[in-house]
Amino acid sequence: MLKDITLGQYFPGNSLLHKLDPRMKLILTLLYIVTIFFANNLITVAILTLAAFLLVPLGQIPMKTVLKSLKPLRWIILFTTVLNLFWVKDGKQLVDFYFIDIYSGGIVYAASMALRVTALLAGTTLLISYTTSPIALTDGLEQMLSPLKKIKVPVHEFAMMMTIALRFIPTLIEETDKIMSAQKARGADFETGSLLSRAKALIPIFIPLFVSAIRRADDLATAMECRCYHGGTGRTRMNRLHYSLRDLFALLCFLLFMAGIIALRWAPLPAFLGI
């Protein structure tokens, strides 16, 4: 049962989005977030949201999966919508019913806020979580942040820790499964009883798991030492990341798009759409 846990939300594939350099995806994500904050009217926010969903076919991710990942947002959206609807008192008054006053500005605000939040989540998960494997992300971050090594930020060490964690998570999950079966065979009961007693039943799982993890760490340290590991200094990489034409193209497209969105700030739009 524990085997089904996948790391993050990575969706293996070979699409255009998958092939982009992880560093470029990080840059694009940052730019996208900046653009969202630049968008100052309902139309641009809507375009941004639409653009995020255009990434779905580009990344060959099933739409259903994406929508499912947006589901937890519904509470935030509901909350902000309600808040905006009742509190914003701009524009024309549409409803005046005892204590409920709804203004047109409130509706515009609520809609654009909901769209913004959706765009933010959909855009970033599509660019990063769904189409970038954790290992590519680690490599990308390491290379991108490597200038920080000069000011003694242990970038390589963090990347190494991430890599090892990613390497060992499946192994430890498998081990947890084994220990659980072993304890069940001895009559341990993890499924019934109060929350407290169920939590207590987990102790005989965690203790052997920790002991074995520490053992593994010790073995791994020796093995790494034997393979001449001595930190990040003087270390080369077999697969260095290289920006390709594809990345340049993606960046250009995005910059154009971003320029368009920003230009729309000054477009002569009906005033009531402004936020």
């Binding site: 290992i135 990613l166 499946p170 093995a223 001449c228």
Partner: protein, 277 residues
């Protein structure tokens, strides 16, 4: 000149409450290209010996010479790494020695640490995977491989550093018969075809008979040293040291006890012939 030579090598784990020497004046030498099996019961000091040769531990007393260079406490980091890459090590637990989440990245780990050019690393990784027969798995995740396959990846990771000698510390102990056969085949191939010196620490006598030379260690001392024929002929002595003998040899010894006149070695040959016909 032997490739590895130890003289009166002694070692004590000083972090224990009651430090007892684990190795007593071990003097052994290994020639280039040799295939040596090292036997000994649990706790006899085999792994400690291996770690000393790999400079993971530092000798309490005595000397180690590797490829003409003597090992001492004042070596610089660069010199230590230079010696370490000559003597690779493959451990027992296949899970605890793979570092990366992709097979080829793991094989590249050693050469990357040595600061080798990316193109050269690529070449070495491809070659190493070819030698262990794992080329098709280059982009796989290590945790999805079988035990034998993982050990072959670990071996590839060592080969990619172009070592002169590889130490196997019970590398087949956690494997099923098939994985064991895969690994042993790779080990023999490395020794025969690549001329790599192999030191194979094992509890499996049927693996030990495949070596050119067998060294038996007990309680941190060298007890026997000779060809498999010489060593395994001493059935009683081996039993006294808490070791088994290869099945064929044991059979012959028992036959002799029950009046069938065969030396253990002849017995082994006879049994082998019998199986081959």
């Amino acid at each position: 000149m032997p490739f590895i030579e130890t003289k009166n090598l002694s070692f004590t784990y000083t972090d224990e409450d009651d430090p007892q020497p684990v190795l007593h004046e071990v003097s052994l030498s290994f020639e280039k290209g040799e295939f040596v099996a090292i036997l000994g019961r649990n706790g006899s000091g085999k792994s400690t010996f291996a770690k000393l040769l790999n400079l993971v531990l530092e000798a309490t007393d005595g000397t180690i010479t590797i490829d003409g260079k003597s090992v001492h406490a004042e070596l610089s980091e660069a010199e230590i790494i230079d010696l370490r890459k000559k003597v690779g090590m493959v451990f027992q637990n296949p899970d605890n020695q793979l570092v990366a989440t992709v097979v080829e990245e793991d094989v590249a780990f050693g050469p990357e640490n040595l600061g080798i050019e990316p193109a050269e690393i690529r070449r070495r990784v491809d070659e190493a995977l070819e030698i262990v027969g794992m080329t098709d798995y280059a982009r796989h995740a290590p945790h999805k491989l079988s035990g034998g396959q993982k050990q072959r990846i670990a071996i590839a990771g060592v080969i990619a550093m172009l070592p002169d000698c590889i130490l196997f510390d019970e590398s087949t102990a956690m494997l099923d018969p098939r994985g064991r056969a895969e690994v042993m085949e790779t080990v023999e191939k490395l020794n025969r075809e690549q001329g790599i010196t192999v030191l194979l620490i094992t509890h499996n006598m049927d693996e030990a008979v495949r070596a050119d030379r067998v060294v038996v260690i007990d309680d941190g001392r060298v007890q026997m040293d000779g060809t498999p024929r010489e060593v395994f002929a001493k059935v009683d002595e081996l039993f006294a040291l808490g070791l088994a003998v290869p099945q064929a040899t044991e059979l012959a010894a028992r036959l002799e006890l029950s009046g069938v006149p065969l030396t253990p070695v002849e017995g082994a040959d006879a049994v082998e012939n019998w199986f081959n016909t």
